[in-house]
C-alpha cells in the first residue's frame, strides 16, 4: 500500500452490488465498478438520475448492506457492519415518533456506543450543545409530528452530529423541503460541517442529492452516477472558494459547473421521465432545466 492511498478516509475498490428479486429470482445490478477515494475533511456530493444506485453506495459505506464484490475501507479497515463512526442521515429523517426533540437528539448518546464512558451530565451537556447549534432552543419537548419539515431536518442533523461520527453520510436530507428552506439549510449545513475550520478539523461528508446546483454549492467534488447499471460516470472537482455564501450562485463558474454536470445526466434524465430522447442541440446552451 503506497503512502497516498493509505491517507484516504474512505476507499471503494471495484465495488458491485447485485440484488436478487425474492419471487422471480431475477438478478439486478444496483451498482458496479465503483472506485472512489475520499480524503479526510472532504465534502463529496453524489448526483445522478433515480435508480443509479446512489443510496446503495451510501448504505454500503454505512455497513447496512454488504457489497457483492469489491472492497470498502474506512481508515484502512474493511467495513463489515454499521457503526457510530459513520453516522447516517436518512432521507425522511427516521426520527423516533415517540420521543421528544431532546430525546431524539440524545438517542445515540443514551442507548448506543457514542455515549459509552460519558456521565449523565456530560451527555445532557452535549445534547444541549447540539440543540443550540441547530437552533432548536425552546422546542426540546416537542414531538417530531409537531415540527415543520425544516425543524425535523435539524433534529436529524443534531442527532447525527451529537454521536460524534467520523464520517457523515447524508441521503437526500434536504429533498423534502421547500426551496427557500432548502437554501437556508444548505448554508447552515456548511457552517455546521465546519467550512470555516481548517480542513483537518472538518468532518468527512458524503451527500446524496438529485439537485445539481445543491451539489455544486455544497461539494468539494461532485460524483456523477449513471443508470443501467449504476456506475460512476465522472468526478467533477468544484473549484469554488470556501467559505461559500448564497451569492456564489451568481459566480459564472457556478453556472459552468452546473451545466457541465447537467450535460452528463441530461440524456438519462429525459429518458427517466417518459422514455423520450433529450432534444438535440448544442451542448451547454440553455437547456430547459426543470427544477
Amino acid at each position: 500500500m503506497n503512502q497516498e492511498t493509505a491517507m484516504s478516509k474512505l476507499r471503494l475498490r471495484n465495488v458491485a452490488k447485485h440484488f436478487i428479486a425474492p419471487r422471480t429470482g431475477q438478478l439486478t445490478t444496483a451498482v458496479t465498478d465503483v472506485n472512489l477515494d475520499i480524503e479526510t475533511g472532504e465534502f463529496v456530493c453524489i448526483v445522478g438520475p433515480s435508480g443509479c444506485g446512489k443510496s446503495t453506495v451510501l448504505n454500503l459505506i454505512a455497513g447496512l448492506d454488504t457489497p457483492t464484490s469489491g472492497t470498502i475501507e474506512a481508515n484502512g479497515a474493511p467495513i463489515v457492519a454499521p457503526g457510530a463512526d459513520r453516522g447516517v442521515m436518512f432521507q425522511d429523517y427516521a426520527l423516533m415518533p415517540w420521543m421528544s426533540v431532546h430525546d431524539n437528539i440524545g438517542f445515540g448518546l443514551n442507548y448506543g456506543t457514542p455515549g459509552e464512558g460519558l456521565t449523565r451530565e456530560q451527555r445532557e451537556k452535549r445534547i444541549r450543545h447540539f440543540v443550540d447549534l441547530v437552533r432548536l432552543n425552546g422546542s426540546e419537548k416537542k414531538y417530531p409530528h409537531q415540527l415543520s419539515g425544516g425543524m425535523r431536518q435539524r433534529v436529524a442533523l443534531a442527532r447525527l452530529l451529537a454521536n460524534g461520527p467520523d464520517i457523515l453520510l447524508m441521503d437526500e436530507p434536504l429533498g423534502a423541503l421547500d426551496s427557500q428552506t432548502r437554501l437556508i439549510l444548505q448554508v447552515e449545513l456548511l457552517r455546521i460541517w465546519g467550512e470555516t475550520a481548517p480542513r483537518e478539523q472538518r468532518k468527512t461528508a458524503i451527500f446524496i442529492t438529485h439537485d445539481i446546483e445543491e451539489a455544486v454549492f455544497l461539494g468539494d467534488r461532485v460524483v456523477v452516477m449513471s443508470t443501467h447499471p449504476g456506475r460512476v460516470k465522472a468526478i467533477i472537482p468544484v473549484d469554488l472558494p470556501r467559505p461559500r455564501s448564497e451569492h456564489i450562485r451568481a459566480d459564472p463558474r457556478f453556472g459552468q459547473l452546473s451545466d457541465e454536470i447537467w450535460d452528463l445526466i441530461r440524456d438519462e434524465a429525459y429518458r427517466a421521465i417518459d422514455g423520450t430522447e433529450a432534444p438535440a442541440g448544442p451542448k451547454a446552451t440553455a437547456v430547459e432545466k426543470v427544477e
Binding site: 454499521p82 457510530a84 459513520r86 447516517v88 436518512f90 427516521a94 445515540g108 448506543g112 414531538y143
Partner: protein, 267 residues
C-alpha cells in the same frame, strides 16, 4: 363574543350528555311500561324490581364481592397473557425463524374458542380459580400475540437501521425502538384482549358453576348461574348483566386513558 365562547362548551357538554342518555332512558321507560301492562309472568323483570334487587344484592355484600373476584381473575389472567403475548409477539415479529416455528401452532389453536377448553381446564385444575384463570389467559393471549406480531412487522425499518448506525446493540433496539414503535398495535391488542377476557370469565364461571352444581368457582358468573338454576330470579340475573356491562365499559374507558398517557405523541 365572550359570553358566547363561554357558553358554547357548556351547551355542547349538556347536549352530548343528553344524546348519550336518550336511548337508554327510552329503553328503560318502554321496559317498565311492558312490565306493568303486557307481562303476564309475575317473575318478569322490571326496572323497579331490578333496582330494588340491586340494592339488596349490594347491601348483603354478595354482588360486590363476586364482581371483585371475577375482576381479580381477569386482571391476573390478562397480566399473564400480556407478558406471554408481548414477549412471544416481539420475538415472532422480529425473527422470521421464530415466526416460522410458532406460526402453525398459534394458527391452529387460535380458532378454538376459550369455552372449548373448559372441559380440559376443569379436568386439570378443578372448578376453582386456576380453571377460570387458565381460560381467561387463553382467551386474552391471542389478540395480544397477533396484534404484537402485526405491530412489530410493520415497524418502520428505517428506525431500526438508524439505531444500528448509532451503535445501539440488538437487544436494546428491541426494547427501545421496536417495542415503542409497536406500542399502538399492542395497545389495540390489549383492549381487544381485555374485552374477550371479561367475556370469557363470565362464561367460564357460568360453565364451571354448572359442572360443579354450584360448588366452588365463585365470581359474578357463578352468581348468575345460581340465580338461574336455583332461585330462578330473573331480576337478579338482569342486575348481574348490567354490572357486567358497566364494568366492561369502565375497563374500556380505563384503557383509553392509559393509551392517552402512554402515547402522548399520538395526540
Amino acid at each position: 363574543m365572550t359570553t358566547r365562547t363561554a357558553a358554547a362548551p357548556n351547551r355542547t357538554h349538556w347536549n352530548s350528555v343528553l344524546e348519550a342518555t336518550l336511548v337508554p332512558a327510552l329503553l328503560v321507560f318502554a321496559w317498565q311500561l311492558w312490565a306493568m301492562t303486557l307481562a303476564t309472568d309475575p317473575r318478569s323483570p322490571s326496572p323497579t324490581h331490578v333496582a330494588t334487587t340491586f340494592v339488596d344484592l349490594v347491601s348483603n355484600g354478595g354482588l360486590i364481592g363476586a364482581t371483585l373476584q371475577s375482576l381479580g381473575r381477569v386482571v391476573v389472567g390478562f397480566g399473564l397473557a400480556l407478558v406471554c403475548g408481548v414477549v412471544l409477539g416481539l420475538l415472532m415479529g422480529s425473527n422470521r425463524r421464530i415466526r416460522d416455528i410458532f406460526d402453525p401452532i398459534v394458527e391452529s389453536f387460535r380458532p378454538i374458542a376459550p369455552m372449548a377448553i373448559l372441559p380440559v381446564a376443569i379436568l386439570w385444575f378443578g372448578t376453582g380459580t386456576p380453571a377460570a384463570l387458565s381460560i381467561v389467559t387463553y382467551a386474552a393471549f391471542f389478540p395480544l400475540l397477533v396484534n404484537t406480531v402485526h405491530g412489530v412487522s410493520r415497524v418502520d425499518r428505517k428506525l431500526v437501521l438508524a439505531a444500528m448506525t448509532m451503535g445501539v446493540p440488538r437487544a436494546r433496539i428491541l426494547a427501545r425502538v421496536i417495542l415503542p414503535a409497536a406500542l399502538p398495535s399492542i395497545m389495540l391488542g390489549s383492549r381487544l384482549a381485555m374485552g374477550v377476557a371479561w367475556t370469557a370469565i363470565i362464561a367460564a364461571e357460568l360453565g364451571v358453576g354448572a359442572k360443579s352444581g354450584g360448588g366452588g368457582s365463585g365470581g359474578i358468573g357463578q352468581m348468575m348461574f345460581v340465580f338461574y338454576a336455583y332461585s330462578i330470579d330473573l331480576n337478579a340475573i338482569v342486575v348481574c348483566m348490567i354490572v357486567v356491562g358497566v364494568v366492561a365499559l369502565l375497563i374500556d374507558r380505563l384503557f383509553r386513558f392509559v393509551e392517552y398517557r402512554l402515547m402522548p405523541w399520538r395526540h
